[in-house]
């Protein structure tokens, strides 16, 4: 199994210029590897920096020191040194991130929210639409919702739209921040099934999951962040 994500000696702090320049150190010296086909679940009490680590791996947060290596078509790309254009490219083709919030342009219909990233990844528009319909159907987002903008949806529906974007054609690396948090048991089961299928297709998954059932189904390994947080 090839290494899809390799994190080495990663440290991250936040400097708060308007709080007397205070520095809040969150992570220190994290070493972590996620191979394709593997699902690594981050452990540790809340506030420990689990989301911070995912955001660093997506290039959403900058890191202070250390290295983040991503496999892009069998080539190792350093996220910590990537240019803006390389980052855009990595996010377009290699790294999928599912966060807690959905941000879209107000009037864009849900089906297009899902199909547009597919088109950017090289799918023809008709194929992108078809794949979008398939994934929405599996996630219990019925045809009556396809042409509505997702801003009109409930929290659980919005979360499933986020998942649909990442899973319509799974990215080689999936970063999932509590993907099942606002879902009912039935939808939670469906999402777990879809993530399992992505793993079978050799995707690598790094996830924060709180419900024990999902962890038991999906995790091939758990990773406790407690040793990597500074003692204040």
């Amino acid at each position: 199994m090839s290494i899809q994500l390799r994190v080495e000696r990663l440290s991250k702090s936040f400097q708060l210029h308007h709080r007397n320049g205070q520095t809040r150190s969150v992570l220190e010296g994290v070493d972590l590897v996620v191979k394709s086909g593997e699902c690594v679940v981050l452990k540790g009490r809340s506030g420990l920096g689990k989301s911070t680590l995912l955001k660093c791996a997506y290039g959403n947060y900058l890191i202070d020191s250390g290295e983040i290596w991503i496999d892009k078509d069998n080539e190792q790309v350093g996220l910590h040194t990537a240019s803006h254009q390389q980052l855009i490219e990595l996010r377009r083709h290699t790294i999928g991130y599912v966060g807690q919030f959905l941000r879209t342009i107000p009037r864009t219909p849900t089906i297009e929210v899902i199909a547009q990233p597919l088109q950017k990844r090289g799918f023809l528009w008709a194929d992108a639409l078809e794949r979008s319909q398939q994934i929405m159907a599996r996630l219990n987002l019925g045809p009556e919702l396809w042409n509505l903008p997702p801003l009109t949806f409930s929290g659980g529906e919005q979360q499933r739209v986020n998942l649909a974007v990442a899973l319509a054609s799974p990215y080689p690396l999936l970063l999932l921040d509590e993907p099942t948090a606002s879902l009912d048991p039935n939808n939670r089961k469906i999402v777990c099934q879809l993530i399992s299928e992505a793993l079978q297709q050799d995707c690598a998954v790094l996830a924060i999951l709180h419900d024990e059932k999902s962890v038991a189904t999906l995790a091939t390994q758990t990773f406790d962040l407690t040793p990597f947080t500074p003692r204040n």
Binding site: Y61, Q86, L90, I105, P106, R107
Partner: protein, 260 residues
């Protein structure tokens, strides 16, 4: 990473001084086709000066502006003869001003405003120009029944859409937007942003969007530069700059607003 891309426009240490006052100082940035770049900062930070410089309306005091032109190939805008620069401004680089009345001729009809731009760019036949005008007005969701009215009879939000139709009618490759939605109702703004995003995708345009609205910047842009006192103090992918701002000024900007 095996990876090649060609920026449509890039600036290298471009500066403009009003006398000995800094308009903008040593700005280096680049923009790629199909992407939005947001320029944010408070009023007086040099955003509009930068845009005017890129549009060729004012000449930089120093630095280079490289543009990949359809007609002239790769050119340094600062070295280009005025005639050619004007040509580019009419065709390949489209500037949408904050106040629509600055970009429209208010005494000729809405349809005329758009058709005129088409005629200037080589369409000979008036009927054909009018047809193109109809196409762009429709794209911007304007009522074609009213295309023979003067822009003064339109609301500001509609005037802004007319101005954008006019600019797009010349099929530019680079679109420069100066606070295009400030002063518009939230619903009108959402509609305009949605239409813009759609057109940019269809036409594979590069867009530089000057705005002080961080929520708009987050929704629309891929990357972002933050300006203060004429200088770029921070740049990066939009979500990174907004979620993990490094510079004191950016932290102030992102903390003084409601969550974007």
């Amino acid at each position: 990473m095996t990876f090649g891309y060609q920026p449509l426009l890039s600036t290298h240490k471009s500066s403009f001084y009003y006398g000995n006052q800094v308009g903008c100082h040593e700005i280096s940035l680049e923009i790629v086709s199909g992407q939005f770049l947001a320029v944010v900062g408070e009023s007086g930070s040099g955003k509009s000066t930068l845009l005017k410089m890129l549009a060729g309306e004012i000449e930089p005091s120093s630095g280079q502006i490289t543009f990949q032109s359809d007609s002239y190939g790769k050119v340094d805008l600062t070295q280009l003869p005025e005639v050619r620069r004007r040509q580019l401004r009419r065709k390949e680089i489209g500037l949408v001003t904050q106040r629509p009345s600055d970009g429209l001729r208010m005494h000729i009809s809405v349809g005329g405003n758009v058709a005129e731009r088409v005629l200037v760019n080589g369409v000979r036949h008036y009927g054909q120009a009018r047809e193109l005008a109809r196409h762009w007005l429709q794209k911007l969701e304007l009522d074609l029944e009213r295309m023979d009215e003067l822009p003064t009879r339109f609301s500001i939000g509609m005037q802004q859409r007319v101005q954008i139709a006019k600019v797009l009618a010349s099929s530019p490759r680079l679109l420069l937007l100066d606070e295009p939605t400030s002063g518009l109702d939230v619903s009108v703004q959402a509609r305009l942003l949605d239409v813009l995003q759609q057109i940019v995708r269809e036409q594979n345009l590069a867009v530089i969007l000057v705005t002080h609205d961080l929520a708009v910047a987050r929704m629309m842009s891929d990357s972002m530069v933050v300006m203060q006192n004429g200088r770029v103090v921070e740049s990066g992918l939009t979500d990174q700059v907004l979620d993990d701002p490094q510079h004191a000024y950016t932290q102030l900007l992102t903390s003084s607003i409601l969550p974007a």
